[in-house]
């Protein structure tokens, strides 16, 4: 049996088939989760956002207009909800972030060769955590999702040139952070 398209599933759901919604969740749950996880940097928060995104999809799918792709529409919701969660998180955790920045400074010694894989990952996660929201979103979609700039432009409503600049500066900021961490 041929795999149903997203649009078929949307139509089935609006026609009353809840299983069609379940299939959409199964199809996109990992992508939504990883967008949230990479923006928020925490499994628990990513889990909360992932659920929230699909609840919103469930509630508003009847308003989805088929002249845009479901995938694009879903990504808009996922990025919106993730950024809003990030905004709230930054407000709440401002003080603790300052603390962690201070503790990181004291742990910044050690050459590149001595860092194991886990330490690399932690360092990169910290670098991404500190990116401005817009750059972080562009970096996540481009680097991890490998999303083409033209697709990203449709989702984020920005020019491709602007997104390229965002991505470049995000990489440079990560680089700067990593170099500082490694004492270079």
């Amino acid at each position: 049996m041929a795999l149903k398209s997203d649009l078929d599933l949307v139509e089935d759901f609006t026609g009353g088939e809840v299983e069609a919604f379940n299939e959409l969740v199964r199809r996109y749950q990992e992508r939504v989760y990883w967008i949230a996880r990479r923006i928020l940097g925490d499994h628990g928060e990513a889990d909360d956002v992932t659920q929230d995104v699909f609840v919103r999809v469930y509630e508003s799918l009847k308003n989805f207009r088929s002249d845009s792709r479901f995938y694009t529409w879903l990504y808009r919701i996922a990025t919106n909800v993730s950024l809003n969660a990030l905004k709230k998180k930054k407000t709440k955790l401002f003080a603790s972030l300052e603390d962690s920045a201070m503790s990181m400074e004291s742990e910044s010694d050690g050459p590149l060769a001595e860092l194991d894989r886990k330490e690399y990952r932690t360092m990169v996660e910290k670098a991404i955590e500190r990116l401005p929201a817009r750059q972080k979103l562009v970096f996540v979609l481009r680097y991890y999702e490998e999303m083409p700039y033209d697709e990203m432009a449709k989702i984020l409503g920005r020019s491709e040139g602007g997104l390229k600049a965002n991505y470049f500066h995000a990489v440079k900021k990560i680089q700067s952070f990593v170099q500082k961490e490694m004492g270079q």
Partner: protein, 221 residues
């Protein structure tokens, strides 16, 4: 192509994502541009550090996700049935917040009673353009609100803050506020920002009063 645009394409060059023609042009450029050559070397190092390995979510996360989503959907309905209707915090409170925001803002910058601002009639008042925006808001149906939500990704308040040297001077800049409010993205941001404040700061009576006002609008049927 401007030099900075070439520089911005260096990450794609490293990732091997440039089209054949662009790749050849970049290679040619790198032969003659020492700055870009140095930048390329520097970027290659950070790409070496960037690891795609990440800690996966704990098992059995993916199996339990769908039931938990459905539980949350059911809980939302349950809460809506018992307490405030779902649209209160989804639409009405945010819209009321915008109204409240505008009221507080323009109360401070409106002229004294009887004063006529330059270029305006006394009957229009200084906040007439904002009232128009509010009318648009109050007349929006759920589909239109959804469309506004769908279009909004970035937060114009960040732009505003950047344009004001890091200071959010929204409250003192009427023109900027008007621009933001007449832009759908900005509108959403204003709603989102003030919704949080509203939920935290208004008591039940104030919410009731706002809802009472909104109930006379087309927005709440």
């Amino acid at each position: 192509m401007k030099h900075k645009h070439i520089t911005y394409s260096l990450p794609e060059f490293i990732e091997g994502k440039l089209a054949a023609g662009e790749k050849a042009a970049m290679a040619e450029h790198l032969r003659t541009c020492d700055d870009c050559k140095a930048e390329l070397k520097s970027l290659e190092r950070i790409y070496g550090v960037l690891s795609r390995a990440e800690t996966p979510p704990p098992d059995p996360y993916w199996i339990t996700l769908l039931p938990r989503i459905h539980r949350r959907i059911a809980e939302g309905r349950h809460q809506s049935a018992r307490g405030w209707p779902g649209w209160v915090f989804r639409y009405a409170v945010p819209l009321a917040s915008v109204g409240l925001l505008l009221f507080l803002l323009f109360r401070n910058i409106s002229p004294e009673p009887g004063t006529v601002m330059q270029g305006q009639s006394s009957s229009n008042g200084s906040a007439s353009s904002v009232l128009d925006v509010r009318e648009v808001l109050l007349g929006a149906d759920s589909v239109e609100v959804q469309q506004i939500e769908d279009r909004s990704v970035f937060l114009p308040f960040e732009d505003l803050a950047e344009s004001n040297n890091g200071e959010n001077r929204l409250a003192g800049d009427k023109d900027v506020l008007k621009t933001i409010l007449t832009n759908s993205n900005g509108l959403y941001t204003a709603i989102e920002m003030d919704m949080e404040a509203t939920q935290e700061n208004l008591d039940d009576q104030e919410v009731t009063d706002i809802l009472s006002q909104l109930s006379r609008s087309k927005f709440i049927n």
